[in-house]
Symmetry: C2
């Protein structure tokens, strides 16, 4: 059986505050399938993003990856134009969209994300909460 293809979405140019968390989530996701967007968790990836590639290349590659993927897992605590864009495009492609939001940081999640019928939001406090949710999502 081909392994599940997972598109992980996290903030790059919106801010890299959660880069280490993204890496931990990606490593966790590898238990369940192939993560197409491993670079999002790269601690060396700076806020300027992948500087050796054009924005059009990055955009078109990421759109191809969303098209190919079976599921989108988005970390939505750090506001990000790119993550919002990816979620909307994934919904249009009728992909399963799962969002993780850290409820202990005093932020409010966009109504466009939480108010959609086509996103499933998991609020969490700790990384262990994310681990538990992922095992429910993928092993059910």
């Amino acid at each position: 059986m081909d392994s599940m293809k997972i598109y992980f979405a996290g903030s790059i140019r919106g801010g890299r505050d959660d880069a280490i968390l993204y890496l931990k989530i990606i490593n966790e996701l590898k238990q369940y399938g192939q993560v197409l967007t491993e670079h999002v968790g790269d601690e060396d990836l700076r806020i300027s993003g992948e500087e050796d590639k054009s924005d059009k290349f990055i955009h078109d590659r990421d759109m191809d990856w969303i098209f190919e993927s079976d599921v989108i897992i988005a970390e939505v605590t750090t506001p990000s134009l790119g993550v919002g864009y990816e979620i909307a495009m994934a919904i249009q492609l009728k992909k399963r969209v799962i969002c993780f939001f850290n409820k202990s940081k005093g932020k409010s999640l966009s109504a466009m994300i939480s108010g959609s019928d086509y996103t499933k939001i998991y609020e969490y406090d700790t990384f262990e909460d994310i681990q538990r949710s992922l095992s429910e999502i993928f092993l059910q």
Copy 2:
């Protein structure tokens, strides 16, 4: 002739740092048409957003407004999940999408926004730059 319907997109829950700028842009846009999203420039609108409405109500109303609109004008300097989502949905609906990005703040615009073939990005330094661009956009 019916007036042009303009959907203005700016950050709400992603951060209200630019709320006064949004108000100025909306006031400027009213010269050219009907702005469907006037509340985005409300200085009293807090980061928690429209607290008297459900997220689903806000999402579905905003989607209806994007559908109705002739053009989307987005201020994309403050990263925002909602603005990214709205831009992607507008592109899917084949709307004209125009983005303003303040290039003097040292931020990097998401590759998903700048790398799309269906967005037009105007970089600016001052509000006068925005005024000049809008008059080019609408009076051409």
